[in-house]
């Protein structure tokens, strides 16, 4: 298992090189230059040219990219064109906010989604099942920004019980976390339900029931664990999405997260900041997917044995040689 994890971590290197190359290429070959974005329309052509030269914008693309990679390997990812500060200073200053929101939202989504999905499956076609299915369909379909704005309208403007902006008190987390969590919870409900329904119709579940095992044991020990596999993937993907893609929620609630930083730096043609932010998000995403894969093996013993078997094979072939 450890070897598998190390192999996956090493795979990060080509992924990050690939991501950096793609982002750098896109940012370099799209029209527009950083100086125009930075200086605004009061600047003369000469001012724009001078600043672009200072920023190294006129150097050949490959030269700029190679310089970037060489510096990045030494830990220098450059300074933001916008603020003049090292790019990771800003990312790290915003990441705690992003991770707090993402973890809260995902934990809440799991706490809401899995039990409701399971109950829906166990009590298929009951009132509870119908209601939860309708609500989860609604939550999946409705855009997040609409949920957020409705939340502000009801709880801030009308009822005055929750703040509409900022993250200064625990109350201010409620609306952003719920807005992020609900569509994700709805996905988990739907997936847990369908996965459970599929599992409880399997032969081994029937066998377990035929053996006379109590229903609680059949569901928890035999069905639930197997039904959980696809749900874990969805949780992982949603978590990754919430780390980088919660831009709308961040903009509506005035939350300074990594998503907003990335979007703003793209708008301002801030190449170092954009590249670093996307690299960082790609890194986090790959790590999350690695954790998901490891969890797979933990939840599904079949996978664990496959990994071990493949290792035995490799060792065996070495011996033969």
């Amino acid at each position: 298992m450890l070897k598998y994890i190390i192999k996956r971590i090493l795979l990060l290197i080509p992924v990050l090189i690939g991501v950096s190359f793609i982002v750098f290429t896109i940012m370099s070959f799209t029209p527009g230059d950083p100086a125009t974005a930075i200086l605004g329309n009061g600047a003369t052509k000469e001012d724009i040219q001078k600043l672009n030269e200072e920023l190294g914008y006129y150097d050949p693309f490959l030269e700029r990219y190679c310089d970037y990679v060489i510096n990045a390997v030494q830990g220098d990812f450059g300074d933001s064109y916008r603020s003049g500060e090292p790019v990771f200073d800003e990312i790290f200053s915003r990441f705690p906010t992003t991770i707090k929101l993402a973890i809260s939202a995902i934990v809440l989504a799991v706490v809401i989604g899995i039990p409701i999905g399971m109950l829906s499956a166990i009590k298929q076609y009951s009132i509870f099942d119908v209601v939860s299915t309708v609500i989860s369909m609604f939550m999946t379909s409705v855009p997040q920004f609409w949920l957020a704005l409705m939340g502000i309208l009801i709880f801030s403007v009308q009822l005055h019980i929750l703040p509409s902006t900022g993250l200064e008190t625990w109350q201010s987390y409620i609306m952003p976390v719920f807005t992020l969590c609900l569509p994700c919870a709805a996905n988990i409900i739907r997936l847990t339900r369908s996965s459970m329904l599929e599992t409880i119709r399997q032969d081994y579940v029937r066998t377990a029931r035929a053996k006379g095992l109590p229903e609680r044991v059949v569901i928890w020990k035999h069905a639930f664990r197997n039904a959980l596999l696809p749900v874990i993937t969805v949780i992982g993907i949603n978590f990754g999405y919430q780390l980088g893609g919660a831009v709308l929620i961040e903009s509506i609630f005035g939350i300074p997260g990594v998503g907003m930083l990335t979007v703003n730096s793209i708008r301002q043609k801030d190449i170092p900041q954009t590249t670093a932010s996307i690299l960082f998000l790609a890194f986090i995403y790959v790590v999350i997917m690695l954790v998901v894969d490891v969890l797979y093996a933990y939840v599904d013993p079949r996978l664990k044995s496959k990994i071990i078997k493949s290792r035995v094979k490799v060792v065996g072939s070495n011996k033969k040689a």
Partner: protein, 512 residues
């Protein structure tokens, strides 16, 4: 036992994340004083103002963004303040200009304090001007200065390379005065500003907010409100709702469609501040059919400004048939763009060499796309076929600069002197902001001569030729001036606003 341990570790992880991360965002702290709480409409000693994007820097010499100025104009003073066409003395007792217009002398007020306790001296002014001269953002404004010297502690003499009439506007009331010692000794001037303004810097949390507090030794007296928080709220709907809920006291960014509902809301006040943002239809006059003056005049006559404002802007703009008004120094007010007249449009179109080909309108934003759709209908009514395309903003700007476009809608914000429009109309700006690619010797000569003409009437007469070329040859079509919607708690009194579209915090006060 293993399960219990796993659960315990999971709980510990979540708790540590929350406790370790409390506070969020990094902060650059200037002074240790607290910035006061959220106003929420209840606390009348503080105010929270929503800004539509994060600031770039609070170093006034290295900023080109309006939003930075909205914040730093409360921290820094300039020598003069331009308000409603007059120059108010801020840091000076008096000032004078030599007869030939090449020398300005400023006598500084005595006893003006910087936020670090130092007194304002002529050396600070010299330092600030020298620093501004080397700044990419201010170089074009300060290029007129040859030398700036302190003849004693309270007298500063500017020698100009040649007479430059916009000097008071582009230097004396534009370049903020910084404290020499604090600026040179500071490790990070960006977020450690020391000026002489009514508010001093407290804290900046990136992407979140900037906090200021009243400077009690301000030379202009005492500002009515003590603590100020500029909070970043990029979504216009959320921004309006934050003011409605009382979490924010003032915002400059609301959806245009919401103006009428805000006007009916008794808990809110609204001012539509006319700005210097002049918006116009531009086309590449080097390209057919726009190279034909008759076709351009047909476009001008076919443009219904009020319909554009009503339909595409929800009424939130001020119609104009000129690029600059009498507020701009040098305005001659003789020529105007052609009015809306469908018959004349058809007449000029018939005279032109337009053959029914489809012209392409490119938009750089959703707002400009809506304008394009309205124009498409207006031009169709006179027989001009136009298609509307939207481009990514950077691509759009780049295409306009390089002349790779037919027709577009754009806006420019130049301060209140006609001379500054040379950045968009002089032939040297082709490839820059001269999107129409106007290359006219008379226009260039008027711009080149205009800054040295001291007599106001003569100067206006000089610029008349530019207005004539622009409107008689329909080089572009002015449509509207942007307005900045300032929405605030009804208990707040806004005493003054500026053409940048914003108010200074010292001009705000709570009435209840």
């Amino acid at each position: 036992m293993r399960k219990f341990l796993s659960l315990l570790l999971a709980v510990a992880l979540v708790v540590s994340i929350f406790s370790g991360c409390s506070g969020g965002g990094s902060s650059a702290s200037g002074t240790e004083e607290s910035g006061g709480g959220m106003a929420g409409g209840a606390a009348t000693d503080s105010i929270t103002i929503a800004i539509y994007q994060d600031i770039k820097t609070l170093d006034p010499h290295n900023s080109g963004m309006t939003i930075d100025k909205v914040v730093y104009q409360n921290v820094f003073d300039c020598l003069l303040n331009q308000y409603e066409g007059e120059y108010e003395k801020v840091l000076v007792d008096d000032y004078s200009m030599s007869e030939d217009g090449t020398e300005y002398t400023f006598n500084l007020k005595k006893g003006v304090k910087f936020h670090n306790g130092e007194e304002l001296k002529a050396s600070d002014v010299v330092f600030s001007m020298e620093r501004a001269k080397t700044s990419t953002n201010l170089a074009s404004y300060t290029a007129c200065i040859d030398t700036v010297t302190a003849t004693d502690d309270y007298t500063v003499v500017f020698k100009l390379t040649e007479p430059y009439v916009p000097f008071l506007m582009s230097v004396a009331s534009f370049v903020p005065i910084m404290n020499e010692k604090a600026t040179t000794e500071s490790e990070n001037v960006n977020y450690n500003p020391v000026g002489t303004g009514p508010y001093k810097f407290v804290e900046y949390a990136t992407g979140q907010d900037v906090k200021l507090t009243r400077f009690d030794e301000w030379h202009g007296g005492s500002a009515p409100i003590k603590d100020v928080t500029f909070t970043v709220l990029t979504d216009t709907n959320a921004s309006l709702m934050a003011v409605e809920s009382g979490d924010v006291d003032m915002t400059y960014s609301i959806p245009s469609i919401a103006v009428s509902s805000v006007e009916e809301n008794k808990d809110l006040g609204i001012q539509l501040i006319p700005t210097i943002g002049s918006c116009y239809i531009a086309y590449n006059i080097e390209k057919a059919p726009f190279d034909d003056v008759n076709f351009r005049l047909a476009l001008a006559y076919a443009t219904n400004r009020q319909e554009i404002i009503d339909v595409a802007m929800d009424g939130m703009a001020e119609s104009t048939d000129v690029l600059w008004t009498e507020e701009w120094a040098g305005d001659s007010d003789v020529y105007r763009c052609k009015p809306y007249d469908v018959e004349k449009a058809k007449e000029y179109l018939a005279k032109s060499n337009y053959n029914g080909e489809t012209i392409t309108y490119v938009a750089g934003s959703d707002e400009y796309k809506k304008i394009g759709v309205v124009l498409q209908e207006q031009y169709k009514a006179v027989g001009i076929n136009m298609e509307v395309e939207q481009l990514e903003t950077n691509t759009w700007v780049s295409d306009m600069m390089n002349g790779n476009y037919d027709i577009t809608f754009t806006g420019m914000s130049f301060d209140l002197d006609v001379d500054l429009w040379k950045n968009a109309l002089h032939s040297s700006a082709i490839g820059g902001y001269n999107f129409s690619r106007l290359n006219n010797a008379e226009v260039d000569a008027a711009f080149d001569k205009g800054t040295a003409i001291l007599d106001e009437a003569e100067r206006a007469k000089n610029y008349e030729v530019i207005e004539k070329v622009l409107y008689e040859d329909a080089i572009l079509i002015p449509v509207y001036f942007k307005v900045s919607p300032c929405v605030y708690n009804a208990n707040l009194k806004v005493n003054r606003t500026y053409p940048l579209g914003f108010a200074k915090v010292a001009d705000l006060e709570w009435t209840a």
